[in-house]
Symmetry: C2
């Protein structure tokens, strides 16, 4: 592409190296001779003067080229296009008072150019950097285009901010954990394949045809072995790999802040993690988090929010509606309550706003979570004499005051109910409606950070298909001490020493105190019917390690991608990873995965089938 | 295994949690009630008192159990074995004056135990932790045994030190680079396969049968794209993967401190790296490195040391011996000098110590580097009238003074020569002898840190087999500015903007200023006969990125494993990696690589051939 008179010979950087960045000049620098390096962000001409907004990582500086004074330079300036990478030599001068731009850090000054050197040119851009809509929000091109030209997308203010924040968060994390006596230790990427749950990614071994390394789904087994090794406090900002079906913002590889500690109990891990989050938020965003995060038992979370990742930026707890089976004539409630239960949700002030159609949308949500239906009534009348209308109100004639009283509802409120012969279905289905309402009604303050711990998870859950007990999380979780005697006799009531950290409705971290006793580990294997030979083959090296004086230990692993996503108020982790795969696990930029040379396959002794 | 009366029920950590570590008690703590957690390092009985050395990451504390005072506790103490993990409750007391152990940080005190709880037992150990030879050096079991029981090996003082240092070095690295304005950014592990030189490890894609991701040999292309993205200063402590044949201490995965900067020239990268090394050595070992490291041109390094990774802890430079072809009658010298040259090395004071056998060993080394032979003479006589004896001395009768004068040799010195029609062969072969002599004669002070830069590498080297030019390093290296006009006309004389950092004879880092201009990149591809279509297929996304205003940039990547190895004065990177593979790329602990389930292969649409 011919760009006219611009010289594009490689320039000797020694002669063109910046003396300042585009973000640092201020009024006090008036008169200084400087060199800037950066990208042409915007360029416009006005009255024989070219105005170049020059951008680098640090900011934007306005450069002016006066065609009267420097006619030849003005020619060069005219040939510049957006995103040319250039060096500017010039002199700092104060802007006239009426031209001061308080929105720019460098808005007091401009640079009068005396020399322009093109370091490299740009072709016409597939999209403009930092284009904004009329309302000031950024124009965001479609994702595959952004990922194909990721180097341009990453130049935007938004992506520069997100990755800078990510960098700062990892620094804050490391400084906090080092301060607490943690070592950062690297565990291997090439490990033994021990698939449990998700699939392992495999790496064929060329030296041992037919054999494979696996990439870790997490450093779990290795960090436990580091505890057996006496390292006491370990962390790693670790890349993890899970071969799942492509969906939403899932990534084949993701990053977690992986931690493990010896000689601790649950609250040590919780306190440490709270301290870490407080430090991260304070250091990187100057946000002060509360000293302690609420700790909610799993059973309570289900009853109150219908989920173990509740959105707590708004209250609107679910309530027990079992009393309704006694006072009304609604048969579905009477049936449900025998084995299961009735959950009730008061949605304040939306009775009028919620048409039948909108309620049907909510019902559709409830049905995704296996509810048979969503019952509803609207409260009308006045506070002293409330009335119920619509939905199932006909089954509760004359009971309006009693119901409103019990549920704390008042005229204008919408009442929602799910009843089910399985209490958990009633909880989760109505909980899903609660979550949806939170979004639909904008109940979530974007500047609020609602952390909470979910604790006391069940250790086992009943697998109806296989008619046996499964571990609810992984098999290395310690059952809470008080249940050790009754593991076998009453697995259903056993609570694990497990904890999840939730933030604004997302699971941010999951952790547990681990089993460190080979005998107890065998009991767990036995309860869930995990074949001992299979266990030996897969996890033998861990149980073997436990035979040599394993310390009590536990840990947790906050997801870094999700943490940064929430901190950046984004909806997808794609927007906080430098080079993510798209939703189909493909990188549009380098087009991987791709075919490889036959020679590579031959060396690996592999053949593609089908 | 029955261990007698020891209770092994899982203990409630709340009741047994340490209040202090095993490294912190001092005389001032006398009288305190404390709880310790740790491992039984040593245990002995003496006059009815059991002495337990309890160890954790922080140190060792002596615990005493008096059978007269606590007969039942003494029974428990007797049942303890090495590496049992225990909790001790007790009282700190001062040791009697004659029992103070100044070699232990906690040597002023001991803990009088009042309660012992076994947290977990240990079977008989495959090797003892921190066993020492009679001379005080550690007993180091064979590597496969150490790697199989890595969790025990990692408990040794040596390995605890090495991994703690590694952790500290990465912290120091990060703090230094953050301070300098670098962002730590993560590049993907799943990338496109672009094998050049070493083989890529491949990861089969299940979603796209027949397609593969590759694991990065380095983040090279992606860090360059981060520069195109405007991030300006990037680093990452990055895991890299190379599928090489198993040899020495090579690892399938290794770690490098990967850095890249925009708008810089060579010396900016060198200065930064020097600052980094100074900071690391000061912060972690309190060693002050010189402000600048010597910068040696590649050609000089070859002439003086015969290698681009010279061991500089001792001088003993090679000298030019071409003058010998004129003054003697040794035909091999006369032949060699026509096209090649003669290199000479004066080895001070070893004339007597070096028997013919030892010289033959040196010759064998020279021959590995393609020398036809190693010529030698011994200087005898006295300083005023030196004489030459043995070897090729008969060809230089009457020339002893002249030769000694020219080479700065004196009686007692051994003179070594390699002559070859290829000058580089003479240099490298005699240089290898120099390196071997450094080791054999203990010329390398283990407390010395001899850093140096090797610069001005040739850009291209002649490939005799294929009769064409190759790039000496990689194809993205910028040729030095002054050669840009003569790239095609005289490739052999072109120097690249390349630099290697060497430490004590090892290449510690390699870097370069990169090409950022697509046209120049095409010229390089053309000179080395790299197919443009092939280039487009493999690196198209990088050259495409360069079309949108790529900044001048360069970087470097010190190898973390090797740096730590040298700092720990070890000979193998295996000893500074938590879980390395052995020399056959196998992990004896978890036995990977391993076979996988047929189901896993089927899902990947892969079949093993042969």
């Amino acid at each position: 592409m011919n760009r006219g008179c611009v010289i594009t010979k490689i320039q000797d950087m020694e002669k063109n190296k910046r003396t300042v960045t585009c973000g640092e000049l201020r009024g006090k620098d008036n008169g200084k001779s400087i060199v800037l390096n950066g990208w042409v962000h915007r360029i416009r001409e006005h009255g024989g003067i070219s105005f170049i907004n020059l951008r680098d990582r640090y900011g934007i500086t306005q450069v002016v080229v006066d065609s009267n004074q420097y006619p030849q330079l003005a020619e060069t300036a005219k040939s510049l296009r957006m995103e040319f990478c250039i060096a500017i030599k010039g002199t700092v001068r104060l802007r006239p008072d009426d031209m001061i731009n308080n929105e720019m850090d460098t808005g007091e000054i401009e640079v009068e150019a005396t020399e322009i050197t093109v370091l490299s040119k740009s072709e016409v851009l597939p999209f403009m950097i930092d284009e904004v809509n009329k309302d000031g929000t950024p124009v965001i091109p479609n994702e595959d285009l952004r990922l194909k030209y990721r180097y341009l997308d990453l130049r935007t203010k938004r992506m520069q901010h997100h990755l800078a924040l990510r960098s700062k968060v990892t620094l804050a994390t490391r400084n906090f954990l080092y301060e607490k006596g943690f070592y950062e230790l690297e565990t291997p990427t090439f490990i033994k394949s021990t698939p449990e749950g998700a699939r392992d990614y495999l790496v064929p071994s060329r030296l041992y045809p037919g054999k494979f390394y696996a990439l870790p789904q997490s450093p779990q087994l290795y960090k436990q072995i580091l505890m057996v090794s006496g390292f006491d406090k370990y962390f790693q900002i670790a890349r993890c790999y899970r071969d799942e079906d492509a969906r939403g913002d899932r990534q084949p590889e993701f990053t977690q802040i992986d931690m493990e500690m010896s000689f601790v109990e649950r609250d040590d891990v919780l306190d440490l993690t709270e301290g870490l989050m407080q430090h991260i938020f304070k250091e990187t965003m100057n946000v002060t988090l509360p000293e302690h995060f609420p700790r909610i038992a799993y059973d309570d979370a289900i009853e109150l929010y219908g989920t173990d990742k509740p959105e707590l930026r708004f209250e609107m707890k679910m309530q027990d509606g079992d009393f309704l089976s006694d006072i009304g004539s609604f048969q579905a409630f009477k049936d449900a309550v025998k084995e299961g239960g009735i959950k009730a949700l008061v949605v304040p002030g939306v009775a009028e706003a919620y048409s039948r159609k909108k309620i049907e949308e909510l019902e559709a949500t409830a049905k995704i979570y296996k509810a048979k239906g969503l019952a509803w009534m609207k409260v009308t009348g006045n506070p002293d004499a409330p009335m119920l209308e619509g939905g199932i109100s006909k089954f509760f004639e004359g009971k309006a005051s009693e119901i409103c009283n019990k549920l704390g509802a008042k005229p204008g409120d919408l009442l929602l109910f799910v009843a089910d012969s399985k209490r958990k279905v009633a909880c989760t289905a109505l909980g899903a409606c609660r979550t949806k309402l939170g979004k639909d009604l904008n109940l979530c303050d974007p500047d609020k950070w609602a952390f909470a711990w979910i604790v006391d998870f069940p250790m086992f859950e009943w697998n109806e298909e296989e008619n046996k007990w499964d571990t609810a999380h992984h098999m290395f979780t310690m059952p809470q001490y008080k249940y050790h005697e009754t593991l076998e006799s009453d697995p259903g009531s056993v609570k694990g020493d497990l904890y999840d950290l939730v933030l604004n409705g997302y699971e941010l971290a999951s952790g547990s105190i681990r089993i460190h006793d080979p005998e107890l580990q065998k009991r767990i294997f036995k309860i869930v019917g995990f074949d001992e030979a299979e266990g030996q083959k897969k996890f033998g090296f861990l149980t073997e390690a436990f035979k040599y004086g394993a310390p009590p230990h536990g840990g947790i692993a906050p997801g870094l991608d999700r943490l940064i996503m929430l901190m950046c108020k984004e909806n997808s982790i794609h927007d906080v990873i430098a080079f993510p795969k798209n939703s189909f696990a493909i990188s549009p930029m380098d087009e991987c995965p791709s075919t490889v040379d036959q020679k590579q396959l031959d060396e690996l002794h592999l053949k593609i089938t089908e």
